[in-house]
Symmetry: C2
Subunit: 409 residues, 2 copies
């Protein structure tokens, strides 16, 4: 640890989460951020932080709090016409010498150059989870305690296991176990976006394109059939394919069709009897999975997850064997809704940012599958997520909390 | 072990190799075959058999015997105009329940159907090395002892480590250490050919054809360059390539150009930054290695074994990276020589077989590199080499020894 790093004292683990009744929004956000940053919550170890957050939420008389595993769902029940869901995951990726957290005072050399330049006289919270996504969590906890009379009903979701395999994902589990807890007209997930709006997401599917041959000694190649040579045709089709950029609800989604892995052959002197090309198709939210599959392998190929190899009956890979490996739906941004449009206007006013399409697959797609439009919007720079020197300037918390307060309050 | 197999008693290991002075050719061959079959000589364990063969050869007053490692070179020095080299390897591939050997009497169910049909009233030697190539070794040992006044000078080579990696090959080593021991006008290697002549061989080279890209997340494929997609062009060229059949000295050699392995990619969601196609080129003896390489990668690409990746400046893979992995020269059959022609005539008369081109790479190419025409000709069915039930009918030994005796005697 460098001397510079030692200048700021590490923040100690709190007993409880909370803030003084007479605290300003800035003071309350700083207190909440300090407290939740100081509780270690790498995926699989969310329990202690979840317990504290649960006690904090249960102290708010206007909220009904439910818990499933390490996921908390807290709702207002004011009989409003519409309901907005606000989500934050409580887990972080593993620590890399960046826990416990610290406040870096203005001038501290550990503050990244671009942050110091944009926020010259400001404290910066440094440590694991600062941007992904405890800054947003702090803002949502502040709103949960203070927005007692919102214009719409609110459902807060604080969930576990976002940073690991999908099957552990707390949001996925609570939706499956208690679909009635997660209902609404619009959802925001607080993934870091510099407080901009990132809408919807591409769907993604992965599958093997398989070619078959007949093995033979390579000195008698004419006795065999070369499966790698046959794969050349599949690569030719990939090269001929022109990925599209597709506009959905005003946002542009760039598609992609790529071989990411290839393997084939059994020996240096053996004509190969099989070759597999692993293909990843990222498709825009104008298509559902069924439509996307039809474009790759024909509408009736029959290839599903874990059902083995099927011959493509049409599409890009017509005639090749297809083995499905993974599929996740796309999500429309849902920005045509007036409720969403008012958020878009507020974000434009406060940050100058227009909504953009989300490229990777995120939990917003889970809401899309429930028929609930969803966007990512959160404090902090997304490029710092998972980095060793994850950090967020203090004003990002007030920016995010302010936008949501003014939109919902 | 089946009951049938037990009917024939295993042959015991002999103390020495030899045959009675009054033995017929058939009796002498049977004795020698029994003896060398009964000495275990899997590659790396040729020592004991080499020692016995050395003592046997040193008992022949008309031979000068030299030894290098486990390779024996025994020569006549009669001042003849021409010299023929006769070679047999003493090692075998590993044993698979087929040692010690046995004579299978006529009617034994362990005799393979096609051998029983062709040799109904004949004993069959069963066990590891029967065809590859102790039957030929026995014939050569018989000739070494009995051809005291041949028409040409003779050099017998009994060598080790033919069945393993080239760097251990005893013939290669003795040629390198004592090139003056291995000189002559024509060479025969006793690899099993059913006593036909298999002439020359294709050369072979193996190399990686490498394409490079730039890694990126597959959700942002346009930030990268897909190395697997680039490899499609190399596969397209392989598919467009039409392998030739080329006639050399009257024998037809079929060439082949094949991808035998392919690999690329670093993860299912990563645009791959490298793809390697392992290519095997089998080229006819009208080309040397230099000419064959020029056809693949241009004359001045500079790719040599162990010198890393070089860009192909021409040829089939122009523009791709090339990393040489293996190269072995082709060998002309050398059947235009009158000495060879007289052997061709004798083989045709005794077996009805015309000479054919050898497809795989064999030790005849080592002689070609020394400027000595060479062919394979040996007792036994080549399709039984390395098999569990390797076996050879007794008359194959007399057929081979008879042809060589009458050609050389």
């Amino acid at each position: 640890m460098s001397d510079e790093m030692m200048q700021a004292a590490a923040i100690e683990t709190p007993a409880e989460i909370g803030f003084a009744p007479d605290a300003t929004m800035e003071e309350a956000l700083a207190a909440l951020m300090e407290q939740i940053m100081a509780v270690y919550s790498v995926s699989d170890d969310e329990g202690p932080l979840t317990d504290m957050v649960e006690r904090f939420l249960r102290r708010q008389p206007h909220l009904t709090v439910r818990r499933h595993g390490d996921t908390l769902v807290a709702s207002t029940d004011l009989g409003r016409e519409r309901r907005v869901i606000l989500c934050g995951h409580l887990d972080t990726v593993p620590v890399i010498d960046n826990f416990p957290p610290r406040w870096l005072e203005s001038g501290d050399p550990a503050i990244r150059g671009e942050i110091a330049a944009a926020h010259p006289d400001e404290r910066v919270m440094w440590g694991r989870g600062a941007t992904d996504m405890k800054a947003s969590d702090a803002a949502l906890l502040y709103l949960a305690a203070t927005l007692t009379e919102p214009k719409v009903d609110l459902t807060y979701v604080f969930y576990d296991h976002e940073e690991v395999v999908a099957e552990k994902n707390g949001l996925r589990k609570v939706v499956q176990a208690h679909p009635e807890w997660i209902q609404g007209d619009f959802a925001i997930i607080g993934e870091p976006t510099n407080c901009g709006i990132e809408g919807g997401c591409n769907g993604t599917m992965r599958f093997d394109v398989v070619s078959h041959g007949v093995a033979a000694h390579s000195a008698r190649a004419w006795m065999g059939e070369n499966a790698i040579h046959k794969a050349g045709e599949a690569l030719a089709r990939l090269n001929a394919y022109e990925p599209q950029a597709i506009t959905v609800d005003g946002l542009e989604y760039r598609e992609g069709l790529n071989a990411t892995l290839i393997s084939g052959g059994n020996g240096t002197n053996v004509i190969p009897d099989e070759c597999r090309i692993h293909v990843n198709y990222r498709f825009a939210p104008d298509k559902d999975i069924r439509q996307a599959k039809a474009l790759m392998m024909g509408a009736d190929a029959g290839a599903e997850l874990n059902n083995g190899e099927h011959t493509a009956t049409g599409g890009v890979f017509e005639g090749f064997g297809i083995e499905m490996k993974d599929e996740s739906p796309s999500a429309r941004p849902g920005l045509d809704d007036p409720l969403a449009q008012s958020l878009v206007g507020l974000v434009r006013e406060r940050t100058g940012r227009e909504p953009v399409a989300k490229l990777g697959w995120t939990d917003v797609a889970r809401f899309a599958a429930l028929g609930i439009p969803a966007v990512n919007m959160g404090a902090g720079d997304p490029l710092l997520a998972h980095k060793h020197d994850e950090q967020v300037p203090e004003s990002d918390l007030t920016l995010m909390a302010g936008i949501l307060r003014d939109w919902l309050g």
